[in-house]
Amino acid sequence: MLKKLTRSSLLVACAAAVTMLVPAQSALAATELTVYTAVEAEDLARYAETFNQDHPDIEIKWVRDSTGIVTAKLLAEKNNPQADVIWGLAATSLLLMKSEGMLEPYKPKGVEKLDKKFVDKGAVPTWVGMDAWVASVCYNTVEAAKHGLEPPKTWRDLLKPMYKGHLIMPNPNSSGTGFLDVSSWLQMFGKKSGGWEFMDRLHKNIARYTHSGSKPCKLAAAGEIPIGISFAFRGAKSKAQGAPLEIIVPAEGVGWDMEATAIVAGTSKLEAARTLVDWSITRKANEMYNTGYAVVAMPGVAKPVEHFPPNLLEKMIDNDFEWAANNRKAILAEWLKRYDSKSEAK
């Protein structure tokens, strides 16, 4: 009887010890990083999983939203940052944060292997790029045929009267993609006047402006409009879903932005954050980005992605992010003045 009792109480004690130890151990092991991101929802789990293959001790807590919201959130939290790392946010947004002194400069291991375009130009970079996010035109062949349209080859083709009312693009005031289009046209066609003249004429053909950058392509995919100015990634996805889409890369060149990574200044988990950023520029990471994006930061990694237009990389303009960031306010104000105030007067 006594024996039985001791044995069972011993068992209980052991069990208690084990249950108390196990969570304590795992709690010690895992550092939880709060990572703000605008990466597509469906990719997030895969990204974290791949990262954890190499670093099981760091747990990623994603905060995902569209670019605008994540940016607004980060800026709103400026005095009280909640994020440790930003992984997968437009470089334009990161530049904004950089100029607010919100990012922790860090030179990740192996950064020299990346295409220079994809690295912040500061002495110690504050951000590093992941992949490019390239503007293109989503063209719904079925709807276009209904209206007797021909596929455009260049941006300037879109000015033709036949496209009137058949074009849709994101509003640069609410969408990063929209701004990317506008700033690229200004850089390609002339910052002072040429770009604006192009947009003046384009505006006449635009059916409406959307708030979201991916929406024009989805609308084109749904046949809601024949032509949507959006970005290639979105188009490729819709095409994969069976939409009668063609992704056109205009001959003059296309604007682009990149998804990039940065450490938020003041994070209490600097070590883990650095580990994550180091990993985010590895070959493995770049291969991971390549499943969705045709252009990634590490040269030579990218394999062609299905449904992506093949000539994307060479059509990417030499985007001056700094110029775009420093002139963003003025450009948006000008755009607003020219197109938004009279937008309902058709």
Binding site: S99, R208, Y209, G242, N326, K329
Partner: protein, 674 residues
Amino acid sequence: MNQASPIELPAAPLADAPLIKPKTSKDDRIMVGFILMISLYLLITLAFPLYAMLSKSFSTFSFDLTNFEFQVNSGDGWSAAVSADSLNRELGKYTADDLATSSDGRLGVTDFFPDFSFRSPTLYRIRQIQLDSSFLFGSERVADTEWHEYGSNDFRRVVIRPSSSTGLANYRSYFSTPALFRSIENSLLIAAISTIITVSLAFGFAYALNRSTMRFKGIFRLIAMIPILVPSLLPGIALVYLFGNQGMIRGLLFGESIYGPIGIVMGSVFFTFPHALIIITTALGISDARLYEAAIALRASRWKTFWTVTIPSARYGLISAAFVVFNLVITDFGLPKVIGGQYNMLAVDIYKQVIGQQNFEMGAVVSVVLLIPALFAFSIDRFVQKKQVASVSARSVPYEPKPHRQFDWICLGYCSAVAIFIVGLIAVCQYAALIKFWPYNLSLGLSNYNFEVMDGGGWDSYWNSIQLAFYTAIVGTLVVFTGSYMVEKINGFATTRSAFQFLAMMPMAIPGMVLGLAYIFFFNDPANPLNSIYATMGILVICTVTHFYTVSHLTAVTALKQMDREFEAVAASLKQPFHRLFSRVTVPVCLPSILDISIYLFVNAMTTVSAVIFLYSPDTTLASVAVLNMDDAGDVAPAAAMGMMIFYTNVIARLLHLFITRKVVRTTQAWRKL
């Protein structure tokens, strides 16, 4: 005469006796404690955030040119330091208005040097005099007071950043930007048109329900309430499927685009219809049958009776309905966002300013602008409702409609048309949610319910929404009912009570967007000790409770006003603490109203978008916001699917509420049936 003779009065002249300082009872102290707590709650969740927002709108940014100095070296040594301000004066380049900017403002420095060329060998130096601003070299922030030297090619990469102060500059800039203030006009116009249409439609519907003997009244009543159960942006999605460029019946628009005013108005009519209907039905229901008997006796025609009796006696209801609808439309955000196209509305402007341009100050300005018509509509509504209460006489005899074949058929036809509109939109949403790939693959399936691969937070957001609705219903009912009990039943403390009443009325006048934005400003301030609730379910619950406080409060107050005023006195005379009365009598008697408040909060928490759009966090994504975000990202069918999930959940919640109410009525309200 005997001992019962008049007693001796104390000798005149009567001096005043000493003043009495009433001893407060334990109950009084507890109740004051409660009322202070709940006042504090409203202060923290309403007054302080709004104040934070207001002050944000006055927080201005401008380039302080006097704070920057330059030196130039064209090969012959450094020139004397000269401030940007004096350079600007010489050149006459920027006026004070030009120098007003936003927090993100940047100003190139080369403009101060007319002969600047980035190819020249000239060297430049720049420094700040004081530390209250900064400049950028490229995107590198420089915030010291040292001299920094740049070659001309680098110098063009230098931009100066604004310093902050307070003032009216944001408002000036708002009203000098046509694209922005144009929205005021748009918002007012859309709200006015929607109001006229909705109130007319709802009046017809209510008239048919009240004054005809048509069949299916019960079904019509149920159908008319459907829009309350879905987010306001859901009709927008349905309209796209109906009237969009691939729409099923787009021909009916004769080439007009649904994206814009037409879409907003149609959607607004849909989602405001039940609100107007409830008010107008009540107004018609209290009409006095005796007036109609008099009209018949006077041989007045039906038409004349309508204009001389029906309309005047329902006028307060009509006015009240009009202002409620107006307020709902002008403050709604989801619908214009989904279907508004470029047609700018104030509520969407807030979103564009904050999310699109991260210009919080301008967002705050638009919020303040939006507050004005909302407050105006709200105060008129309150005023009118007070009048209406006074005009109902206790002697009124309810009107009993008599059968009238032709009229009943017209009513049935009319109500059916409205019902088809409502059910049609919902059915279209459900259909859209089940179609695999509109319009190219019309086979049905559940692929659109695979929310995990879409924006918006996946199925989690659906469960989060249910959680939010549940907590909101519980916490809200508790706070609201306790608060209204204290304010109704406490003695004295007139100032505190009227201040509380005022606070409790305010949320109705505050657009959800404005509240949400105000919450960011207030709760995300690291100096705020309540900062820790930021980005939690807690803040969503608080925000939602506050957003829907007024109607709940009014429901509770109405219920409490029906309680005998002397219950508290009786309980005190019986030496029973107020909480015993509260739990034994007040709560059981008010239970039906309490249940009404909780279902109201639940349903609204499920559908609200505007208040929580700025506040949800990755762990607390919400179904209603997911609808918006999925639609925004172009995943329109999944958005419709999620919208329908909200609808079904609310239907189930409603049925559950009905069931519980029945049960509760049977067990605790037996006395009512007698």
